[in-house]
Symmetry: C2
Subunit: 235 residues, 2 copies
DNA sequence: CATCATCAGTTCGCTAACGAACATAACCAG
DNA sequence: CTGGTTATGTTCGTTAGCGAACTGATGATG
């Protein structure tokens, strides 16, 4: 098993901007290395930075009643962490935690907001991204309500694989349970079923996607729906 | 039983704008009467108008697999239908259906977008509203995942009452089941429990809230969370 | 007034997921 | 190699909600 696809270590949102704008933005960014489990935002706290993942990705979750948790969004190199700033708000409504360790570009909130006001290409791109984000959030709500754990897990693995730019990554059942808002036992059951079906394999947190199209078939339609809305809108 | 609270027949979003801006906007609006069940937007179709409910309210839903449905947002006189236009997109990702019949102000999409570009107070107000909307959408996801039908129904009744500006309104179990994404039977069970507890009463779709604070206690914390984020951000 | 449609209540068997607890198994550090 | 920690597997009894079907009641309509 080779480490599969290589990651383009750029942020696609930034890459889509006109050269001048992009370079000015990059000049205002610093490169940082995000570590697994690092908390980048907490609900009702100020957002001090925005992050453009290049080869890392970040999980957005909501907690409730102290115990229960659910992932409501995932930010990889197709996006940005810090969406509220696009709306002129500097407080995060969500938890943001690093799920895939790796490099990202970081910019302070204040200069970022100045750039937003100045650079209409950036503003347009981020509005578009926010729109897609909201679509996917709505989709996730319904999915979470109606689809069984195995299908939801399959979808989640595909979304993760997309952002990891690799067919293998390290995540435990415990962690996935947290993201999907189910018991660890529920993930174990679903995952071992997917493994029996030779769609994935794993040992002690090392997950490999063996059969991507099989996994798509095992997932609910929500994965394809999300992907379609992304490509339609972000090209 | 008196018809309870009287409705302020204004749209609060518009009311919050500076006099000049407000009057220019109102000049561009026409008054319309929305009928129950009327469809104002369909997924992947163009938004031809925005609506500012004055004494009506609108349900935003997502469907999945053709059958299953879930309400993901509710727009009353505190808001506006047509949020994608704020992001420069003219396609609705959601179904929008009139849940509470009554008057609203309507504006064509094109002049609305011109106003958005011109009037920064409007732009700011709508961004703020969108932010609140996203917060509530995330909250709804988790709520839908973790809370039992009876608590979710209680929450939903409170949200509806807020937008109906009255302690009574007309909606069948069937309809509520559709909004909550559960079977009609599930709503019947939950509603009759709330009725036994003297929190509400109903016959053939005529619902009366008898004990609002009791209903708040019966609901999950999500109602208060939503309300808090609304008042904190929109004043 | 008779009929029909709508709305609400109830039942039955079933399933996905739950909470709790315990059982392996792999890896890690001393 | 040993004991501790982490990751996964399994079991047991319970529960909320499901699909399907049927019953009763209230209003509206002809």
């Amino acid at each position: 098993m080779s480490p599969a696809q290589t990651a383009p270590a750029t942020n696609r949102l930034l890459a889509s901007l006109p050269r001048n704008d992009r370079q000015r933005l990059l000049a205002g960014c610093e490169s940082v290395e995000l570590g697994f489990g690092e908390i980048l935002a907490e609900p009702n706290e100020r957002l001090r930075h925005v992050y453009f993942p290049t080869d890392s990705f970040i999980s957005l979750t909501t907690a409730i009643d102290g115990r229960e948790t659910l992932e409501v969004g995932l930010v990889g190199n197709e996006g940005m962490l810090g969406i509220p700033l696009v709306l002129g708000m500097d407080v995060s409504p969500l938890h943001a935690m690093v799920q895939g360790a790796g490099p990202a570009l970081r910019m302070d909130a204040a200069p970022f907001q100045r750039e937003l006001g100045r650079c209409s290409a950036l503003d347009r791109a981020l509005k578009r991204y926010l729109y897609v984000f909201v679509c996917q959030l709505a989709q996730t709500s319904v999915c979470t309500r109606f689809h069984v754990v195995e299908a939801r897990l399959a979808r989640w693995l595909l979304m993760t694989q997309d952002r990891a730019h690799s067919d293998q990554f390290h995540l435990t059942h415990e962690f996935m349970a947290y993201m999907l808002g189910v018991r660890r036992v529920g993930v174990t059951k679903a995952a071992s079923s997917l493994q029996r079906r030779r769609l994935i394999s794993y040992t002690r947190g090392d997950i490999t996607v063996l059969d991507r199209s099989g996994l798509e078939a095992a997932s609910c339609g929500c994965y394809k729906t999300d992907k379609a809305s992304y490509t339609r809108l972000m090209g």
